[in-house]
Homo-oligomer: 362 residues x 2
Amino acid sequence: MKVGILGGGQLARMIALAGHPLGVACTFIDPAREACAAAVAEQVASPYEELAQLDSLTAECDVVTFEFEHIPAAALRYLESYDNVFPRPSAILVAQDRLREKTLFRDLGIPVPPFASIGSREEFDAAIATIGMPLVIKTRTLGYDGKGQKVIRCAADIEAAWAELGGQPLLAEGFVPFEREVSMIAARDRTGAVACYALSENVHRDGILRVARPYTNAALQQQAEDYSRRVLDELEYVGVLAFEFFVHDGGLLANEIAPRVHNSGHWTIEGAGTSQFENHLRAILGLTLGSTETVGHSAMVNFIGRMPTAAEVFAIPNTHLHHYGKADRPGRKVGHVTVRAATRDQLEASLQSVIALSDKMG
Amino acid sequence: MKVGILGGGQLARMIALAGHPLGVACTFIDPAREACAAAVAEQVASPYEELAQLDSLTAECDVVTFEFEHIPAAALRYLESYDNVFPRPSAILVAQDRLREKTLFRDLGIPVPPFASIGSREEFDAAIATIGMPLVIKTRTLGYDGKGQKVIRCAADIEAAWAELGGQPLLAEGFVPFEREVSMIAARDRTGAVACYALSENVHRDGILRVARPYTNAALQQQAEDYSRRVLDELEYVGVLAFEFFVHDGGLLANEIAPRVHNSGHWTIEGAGTSQFENHLRAILGLTLGSTETVGHSAMVNFIGRMPTAAEVFAIPNTHLHHYGKADRPGRKVGHVTVRAATRDQLEASLQSVIALSDKMG
């Protein structure tokens, strides 16, 4: 079987690595010269909007999928005409736009912070008045890892936020003083069957995910599965989707969805019956989904900017190294380490050492 | 890091797949046009005896290793002069020769069936008289998967065995009416530290391994670990080694060693803290070995001749598919499926279905 991927970063790399044992070879489109998926999959170095390349990819591959959501809209609209593209481009278009996304959540009865669309300075001022401070101003499109957003805490922040973000379609959103951020990785197959992983608790630093680990809370788990199913069914989604929530006042508030495998699900490689990468492939290829049950106790730590040596990682017991094969660069996700242990105590002991190692790297 | 491998079959493929997350890229030498490791590693299509290629490989790679033991002796002797080749070629030379191997076991105080060297018809007849029937006649070199051996059960079998195997160096060995065959996968790192997996119980059909699974027996486990350490230390071995034993009269009798990752250890990919492939890489690269503890309940089934579809495999719960990317061919190992489950009952239920599927394939 052959799978085409738009994008050739670490997510495509890990999808391709999950593919080989299934007899699945991946080909990806990425204009970047040093796409790290190229070590394990075939690269087509082309802009995403090159329609002839999209024709070839959909023709040569059993199915075509995405490793990131910021695909040019022209390419997505073109791919709409092919029936072997999963998830459907229409679902990606919703996830690209924070306003459409939030509106979808609200329409499906999923709790969201108060929000408003901003198309002008007047609407900007009106949103501040209606929602009240503190609030967050975000670009409607192209934001990730905390980029493209500003918090307005008091009147003094207003002009700076407008200066930085004004002039493009924006979303204003009530600032949620959340207790924790969690995410649900869920997969929906071509028959509509859904499989959900354990909620992941996500800790960020400088807007970038640092630590993700299964979070056990039966009530929130059930809530998250319920909300995820609503979104997956509404979008007639096929593949893995990540749904981020804030935990606030004992319940979940929807933050955003990512229509793809997700950094907060990397622990599933060792920590679940089937990894998110394999289940994404199984979903889009029309195969039955695999078990999402947790295996042992696990947690994942990102490495930003610089990778430790393998010797440094393996000096810590129960570690699983995932090197993305990228050059070091400040602020760049270059790899992750998952700790999986038989007991919670073993996990915690190793996890603290891995976090310390990550902090040392950048 | 870069690792060179002699051989490009499924073992090299799985070593290379284990390497990518560690930031290890593999290059392999294999004269075959359709080496299945080529999907995930770089191929040098050359005979193994091409000394210039061995020079380049050892120069370009941090370390060089083997996926099979039947490397031409000339190549092994040449590689002796390089200090970045693991395991040492001298260890491979011992494992290539059933007489040297058995003699080593005996010298180390490891129980073996009675055996004798056969260099002539006279020695052949003498061995039959001394050991008694039934006995097994094996070629000293190049045997695997039951090839190159004949059982002599009664006088009527003698001439046929000589006609088939006579004229080459042979080993005669008492036929062991064993209760089960087990193997120990053990790794020894560059500092001499040894890590052993749970014993694997191996069931063959037509001389080819069909099912392998962890076998729990504390006394035999301890015996196997003790014997493995003796061999590993004596050979100053670095890497993963498989040691096959017969269980006979409640104890172990040494059968043979394979100086490499081994089919009976494939269940470690899902069923142990660290797979045999990763631990082989860690050992030869001078890294600390990873946990060999079992994870859940697992068993592996080989697929011979023909692969089922992924849909057929995934219709069975808790299955993990390993497609080797080879063309179907009668008698050829084309893939394996590991079942890993949280309980023994779940394992058994799935395992029976996987065995039935394997039987259907060939």
